[in-house]
Amino acid sequence: MTDTAPDQLDDTVWVEKASLIDSIPRPVQIASVAVVFITVWQLITLSDLVPPIILPTPLETWNDMMFVGANVLSGGYMLDSLWTTVKTVLYGYALAIAIGLTLGIIVGETAFGERAIMPYLVAIDTMPKVAFAPLFVAWLGFDIDSKVALAAFIATFPIVVGTAAGLHAPDANARMLFKTMGASRWQTLYKMKLPTGLPQIFTGLKIGSVGVMAGAITGEFLGGGNGFGELIRVAASQLNTPRVFSLILYLSLVGLALFAATSYAQRVLVFWHKDRVIGAEG
């Protein structure tokens, strides 16, 4: 019609920009962040900003990680420590899930729970948990029990919040449907509300999985035992910062594994939920 009309090749110019950075494969992206991170770290240690007994160099840390890794793999004492901490974390997580789901159901299902119990849970959660460590030790002794309790204590709150929110998720239709079928409160909870709320419950579980790590280490800091927390403490008191950092990095791998396991459980259990799960892929 008019000679200003371009041919189709021109039109494709405004195709949704497949952003350059997003076309890089994920492992490369992750590695590149690591490179930036380690470079900054190296630069800080090269400068005179921080003495080495506060921040070790990446290389020192890497060497120490090799040492720790070798000790763990050869079944040395660090393997025992790691296993103690992992046990604490797993038991603590299991306990937190049990208590968190129960309290979450009470809070989410009953007006009394939401109105009268929830404020106390919030209040308890704002308290420094550290102060409760002696109580747990007094009741449960110096075995991992007391650390399990502290770990569970820290991880429980997000699970409660997630569960309560999950139970509010089903829409009026689903509730009504269950009413028409004459379902009991328990059936409604078990067959409808809990499955429907699983995505929110898993959000709580994922936050909890991070908290349980923090709790276990705090417990080991305060109440002894022979876990990784104790190793960090010894290393810190010896001002062996490369060791401190390498132990922390291993711990964060354990934490990531727990987080990833939770995400994986979510993908398997909530197979119908196609939404993106933040930070949970692969």
């Binding site: 921080v50 007094a138 002894g224 010896q238």
Partner: protein
């Protein structure tokens, strides 16, 4: 007045525990104006244990600190040029404690038992090992060590019969005693030579500003002398209250604690004056750290870890 304070130099002192009594010479020196007389204004900061004190010194955040000798040697092994300049807890401020009514009388009685240890320092662990190995026992075979933390958990450990003895700082034991958990020290007297925490500063400071160190040590020593005079007990307590009001709220409690802590700052060798660091005991400390695995090998120059120059000079001055 404001005119004076403008000329004062700000100095940060890092202590490893939240207590004015444990750092009593500093608080008395502040309260009596000894630091101000030297042109210093001292700010006390509490961090978590000797390790953190040394980190704060190394980072330049603190000018002086009060860590233990063990952590100092470990830090030196890691290239931190921190130097011990004043022996504050001149007698071992650790002890092997058992319950008052327990049958244990000597370290040998603890064979086959569990010994609890307290703070994160690791110093009391070394101390306990020293005492017990002198009694011919080795850890893991003849006795077990269990980290029980301090205060409440330690009490719980006794109540639950999880430990037979507790290697603790004198201050901790005194607090437990005050709170109704009466403990008895079964450490043989000869271990008193294992002195505890003292004044530490960085080697740079010693080289660059020896006069600053002299000023600080002078005021510090005056503070200690003042506090050791029983007549000044109430005045001292008042100075503590200015720093940590909460600690002195229960004055009798605080006073008893002060007595216990102060008694450990009395030098074993009176002729050498306050703050003197016996080189032979440094050798022993180093040996025990190596035995514990806290140090891989003897330091190249152990004598660089401490100096008696300042205490000797100031002691003579103040005679």
């Amino acid at each position: 007045g404001t005119g004076l304070s403008q000329e004062l130099r700000e100095i940060t002192f890092a202590q490893p525990s939240a207590s004015a009594i444990n750092s009593f010479p500093v608080y008395v020196a502040i309260g009596e104006g000894y630091f101000a007389e030297e042109g210093l204004e001292v700010q006390v900061e509490t961090v978590n244990g000797s390790g953190s004190v040394l980190q704060a010194l190394a980072a330049g955040q603190a000018d002086f600190g009060r860590p233990g000798p063990g952590p100092l040697l470990t830090a030196r092994a890691r290239g931190v040029d921190a130097v011990f300049i004043y022996n504050v807890a001149a007698r071992a401020n650790f002890g092997l404690m058992v319950e008052e009514d327990s049958p244990y009388q000597t370290p040998e009685d603890l064979a086959g038992k569990v010994v609890g240890t307290g703070t994160a320092d690791g110093a009391e662990v070394g101390f306990a090992r020293n005492v017990l190995s002198s009694a011919g026992m080795s850890p893991g075979e003849d006795y077990e060590l269990l980290t029980v933390g301090d205060g409440g958990p330690a009490t719980a450990a006794f109540l639950r019969d999880e430990i037979a003895a507790y290697s603790a700082s004198v201050a901790d034991a005194a607090v437990l005693g005050q709170r109704g958990v009466a403990l008895r020290d079964i450490t043989p007297a000869e271990f008193a030579r294992f002195f505890g925490n003292g004044l530490v500063t960085m080697g740079d400071t010693i080289r660059d500003e020896p006069e600053l160190i002299e000023k600080f040590v002078r005021a510090f020593m005056k503070g200690q002398k003042f506090a050791m005079d029983e007549a000044n007990r109430e005045a001292s307590l008042d100075h503590f209250a200015a720093g940590f009001p909460q600690e002195i709220e229960d004055r009798d409690f605080a006073s008893a604690l002060f007595t216990a802590v102060r008694s450990k700052s009395v030098p074993l060798e009176t002729d050498k004056g306050l703050g003197y660091l016996p080189p032979a005991v440094w050798e022993e400390w180093q040996a025990s750290l190596i035995a514990n695995g806290d140090l891989p090998a003897p330091l190249d120059d152990l004598n660089a870890a401490f100096t008696n120059d300042f205490v000797t000079k100031i002691s003579a001055e103040l005679e």
